[in-house]
Structures are given as structure tokens and as C-alpha cells.
């Protein structure tokens, strides 16, 4: 069992308090994910944005009634994300913040690129995007078709398509993966600042988790300056695909934390409205077990960042548990209970999203089996 130390307990408690503000935004964002202006000055959004920004790139915020978290490691982020998702995962993902793009910019960006990226986020009105997945290709990076063609003047022209990109259509700065040649090492990450006339973006209407604002993007020769490629200062093997893999190892556990946080929210909601619901202790026990596994997986990533066995097992188990919890809850509230409890109805749609984020269940199964066969279950 992971014993939370004083620092982790502080992260948990601050996030738990902030989660209440996310809960208050949940239904409005689900109803209209485009109408964000009224929510952007919410304290919790300033907290999420600045907590995920390295200290040297932070803006100074007046007031700050909610405490800021220091730049944290994977376990601290997981503890915080889980508590915030207990408020509402959709409202959390709708927050203009560094998010996944920040992870890759930290990993592969040089100082100037980091400065550019984080400065754009000051004020809390700029969303970021992390564009890897392509239509018909899932997240199979090796089959990526989006390409960078030399423009003959030291820069590049970006051509191709991406799909299911969070906040893509409203993003002001972010990262797109594309290839400069045929080998795996030719896959590169570039920093982009739309809009541009060759940049075409459309928000997709999602079943749930609508705050994430998944989008389809098309690039018809978007110009990219040579100094916007991330990782030029790094060895060739550490420039593109390596960064994506490291980012996914980290984000997979974050998605598991979102699933566990949502499941806890669901079980606690039922407990509040129907205390004697059959199955409630089981639902809570399962969610708490998944929380423990997610914590364990995050601790393991800290010890061994390249090993994905436990994080894949955690994502697989947490996602499945969250869907089961939602199904149980929809029955527990009685006939038409979902329509009488719109938050619960929303969460039964939201939990399905976690299956599709950062690798589907089948992808996780392949990784888990591979890890087990390599002895990772005893490591």
C-alpha cells in the first residue's frame, strides 16, 4: 500500500477542495462545451494551469485563494488529477492548460520553445493540443502519414490529417507529430501556433467528456519555421518518437486516475442520494482498489520510467471498473434514475471515454501480457 506523505496529502487536500469548483461547472460544459468564456476566470482553472507550468515560466496571479501546487512528479500529478476528476473530469479537461503538450515541450523543447509555449498560456485563454492520432490509424505512430516537407528556405510545410485531438479546434499553441522521412527516427514533434489559412480544424461532437473538445485537424501546407521543431538540441534517438512514448507512459496513468476519480464520484453520489443501495460497499471497494493500483503504477513509473507494465494494467483495470461502476449506479437509482440525476447520466457517458484515450483496452492488454511474460509482475 502507498502511504501518502505530508506533501502528497497536501496535494490531495488542495485538489479535493478545488474539485468542488469543477463540479459546479460540469453540467454547463457538457451542455455547451464551446461556451467557456464565463468559466475561464474560475480559481480552479488558474490553479490547474499554473500548477502544471514550471515555476520559472509562471505568471504572477493576484489573490490566489487556492494554494498552488509545486511542479510535481508523476505520483503527485496522479494524486491531484484523481481528486480533481472526483469533481468532474470533463470540466478538468476543458481547462486551458499545458496538458499533454506541456509534457512533451518539457521533454523535448529548448529554453526558447518552452518560454514561447508557456507565455502563450498566461491569462488562461489559450488551449493547447497534442496531435498524434490520425484517421484510420489510431495511435500507431509508426504508421503515421502526416509529413513535413522542406520549403527550400530552412523551414517546412506540414501536410496531413489528425483526428480525436483534445482542444484541437480551439487550441492556440500545441504540438503536432509528423515525419520528415520514412524511418521511425524521422518522426518529429513541431510546435505550432494556429490559426493559419492552411490549418483547418473542426470540433467533433462527442458522446461524453465533452469538455475535452476532441477535434479533427487538416494541414494543407502549414508553414513551420525550422526552429519550431522540438528536440534539435537532443541526440537523434531522443527527438520525436521517444518523447511520444515517454509522454504516453505518463499520460496513461493520468487517464487511469481520471477513470478512478469519476468512479469514486459516481459511487459517492449514489451514497449521498441512496445510502442503502445494494452493491454500494462493493462499488466503493472496487474504486478504492483501483485508486491504490493507480498510485502503485505511478510510483513504479518514478522508479522505472521506461517500464509500462503496471501503468497499462492500471489503465486497463481502472477503465473497466469505471464503466462497471457507472452501469451499477444507473440501476441503483431506480427506473429513470439517470434522467432524474443529470450528473450521473453525464458520468455514465464520460466513463466510456477513458477506454479510447492513450491506447484502447486491446493495446493495454498486449503491453500487459508482454510485461508479464518478461517477468515484470515480479519486478
Amino acid at each position: 500500500m502507498i502511504e501518502l506523505d505530508a506533501r502528497l496529502r497536501a496535494v490531495r487536500d488542495v485538489s479535493r477542495e478545488a474539485a468542488e469548483q469543477l463540479r459546479a461547472l460540469a453540467l454547463a460544459i457538457d451542455a455547451d462545451p464551446d461556451a467557456m468564456e464565463a468559466h475561464l476566470d474560475t480559481e480552479v482553472y488558474a490553479m490547474v494551469r499554473t500548477s502544471n507550468t514550471p515555476a520559472r515560466h509562471r505568471e504572477s496571479l493576484p489573490g490566489r485563494p487556492l494554494r498552488l501546487l509545486d511542479e510535481g512528479n508523476c505520483l503527485e500529478t496522479v494524486v491531484g488529477t484523481l481528486e480533481l476528476a472526483r469533481g468532474d473530469a470533463g470540466a478538468l479537461l476543458a481547462c486551458p492548460s499545458p496538458a499533454l503538450a506541456g509534457v512533451i515541450v518539457d521533454l523535448l523543447g529548448d529554453e526558447r520553445q518552452r518560454e514561447l509555449f508557456y507565455t502563450r498560456l498566461h491569462g488562461g485563454r489559450t488551449w493547447t493540443f497534442f496531435a498524434m492520432t490520425e484517421p484510420g490509424r489510431g495511435s500507431d505512430a509508426t504508421a503515421m502519414e502526416t509529413r513535413l516537407e522542406p520549403d527550400g528556405a530552412g523551414g517546412w510545410l506540414l501536410r496531413g490529417e489528425k483526428r480525436y485531438i483534445g482542444n484541437g479546434a480551439r487550441g492556440g499553441v500545441g504540438v503536432v507529430f509528423a515525419r520528415t522521412g520514412r524511418s521511425a527516427l524521422s518522426i518529429r514533434a513541431v510546435l505550432l501556433e494556429p490559426p493559419h489559412e492552411a490549418w483547418h480544424a473542426q470540433r467533433l461532437d462527442m458522446v461524453g467528456l465533452r469538455g475535452a473538445a476532441l477535434s479533427a485537424l487538416r494541414f494543407d501546407g502549414v508553414p513551420v519555421r525550422g526552429d519550431m521543431l522540438l528536440g534539435e538540441h537532443l541526440p537523434v534517438t531522443r527527438r520525436g518518437i521517444w518523447g511520444a512514448i515517454e509522454t504516453f507512459n505518463n499520460m496513461r496513468i493520468q487517464v487511469a486516475a481520471l477513470a478512478v476519480g469519476t468512479a469514486l464520484a459516481i459511487a459517492e453520489y449514489v451514497a449521498e442520494h441512496r445510502k442503502s443501495a445494494p452493491g454500494l460497499p462493493v462499488a466503493l471497494a472496487r474504486a478504492e482498489a483501483a485508486r491504490e493500483l493507480v498510485y502503485q503504477a505511478a510510483a513504479r513509473v518514478l522508479r522505472d520510467p521506461d517500464n509500462s507494465y503496471l501503468s497499462c494494467a492500471a489503465k486497463l483495470g481502472a477503465t473497466r471498473m469505471a464503466v462497471q461502476t457507472a452501469r451499477w449506479a444507473s440501476g441503483a437509482m431506480g427506473p429513470a434514475g439517470l434522467l432524474e440525476h443529470p450528473l450521473l447520466e453525464k458520468w455514465t457517458r464520460d466513463v466510456c471515454a477513458f477506454e479510447f484515450m492513450e491506447g484502447t483496452g486491446n493495446i493495454q492488454r498486449l503491453h500487459v501480457a508482454k510485461g508479464y511474460l518478461s517477468g515484470d509482475a515480479d519486478g
Binding site: D205, G279, G331, P335, G337, L338, L339, N362
Partner: protein, 211 residues
Amino acid sequence: MNAANTLDAGAVPAALRDCERIGRTEGLAAGLAAALDGRDVAATAPGRYAALSAESVREMESVVVLKHGLADREDVVFAELPSPRPPAGPALAEIGALLAAVRLGVVRRTLDLAVEHLSARDCGGEPLIRKQLVTGAVADLIAEVELLREQIPGYRDPAALADLHTRIDELGWQVTKLFGAAGYIADHPVRALYVSALCANTWIGREGAGE
């Protein structure tokens, strides 16, 4: 079609077959209309809201409906009903059975589409439908459809009927996953599976069931 108003005698298999066929060939709203054809919704529905086809509501007078973004696009609406609601009885169980048949038909309809999708999409030079994890999932799905169809005639037992619908919810989710992230976009045909679960939520009492 006129789904038999009572399911006595030899009418059961025929009405169930019809409902499954309509769910499969015409979709959820048409199936729901068939399952509720000739039934007194206000005197039967167990909750404050009852799922109905939008078309059938258009013919009714003074019905207050609750709209839902996804259900609306499936031509399904939720009629608001006065409290208190009547206790569950045989008429409600029959609707539960017919609705289960419709929902199995909708699962078949979307499974057919999933197989088309998986046959057309390659990964590593091979169609996804030939990947063992995917083939296994499809086999489990259709085997479960065959099994659940045989559970419908046991609808008079409330626990058996509740279990049946919960397992159809799970079947719908297993089909949805076969589409990958496309199965999470609101204008995709799998929307019918999300709405199908919502319909069952209004018609089937499951509050006594645990995990």
C-alpha cells in the same frame, strides 16, 4: 407490425422475433415503437420518465417530454409521467421482454457495421478483423447474443429480466469498443447503443441488484 398486446400462448416467440427484426433492420426508435404498440404507457411505466419513439409522442396530446441530446437524434424522447408510479406488474414485464428483443436487434445492427469497419481497416498489413483479440471479441459478442435471446422468455422473473438488460448494456459497450474512438462521436451509428441503455434505464427496475 402489431406486437401482440399480450404475450400469452403462441404469441411470445413471434412478437419477440418481430421486435428483434425491427430493431435490427429499422433501428431503435422503430423497435421501441413496436414494443410499445397498443400499450398504456402512463399506466405501466415504472419511473418518472418513459422512453418513447418521438413519432409516437407526436400522435399524443398534452405529453410533456424531456429531451436528451443523443436520444433526440435517435428519434427517442422521454415522456414525463405523474407521481406516484404504479407498481411493477405483468404488463411491464412484457414490455421489458419486447424491449430486450429490440435491444438485441440493435446490437446485431451495430455489430454488422463493426465487422464491416474492422474488415476495411488494416494494422500492420492485416485487416483488424483477423487480429485474434478482435476475432475473439466478435465471437464472444455473438455467442452472448444467442444466449441472451434464450433468456428473454424467462422475463416474468424480475431479477432475470434485470440481469438480461444489464448484460445487453454490456454487449452494447463491447460492440462500441470495436469502433475505437469513432465509437465515441455523437453522429456515429453506435449512438443507438448509448440511447438503448438509456431506454432500458427508464423501463427496467434494477435498484435491487447489486454489483
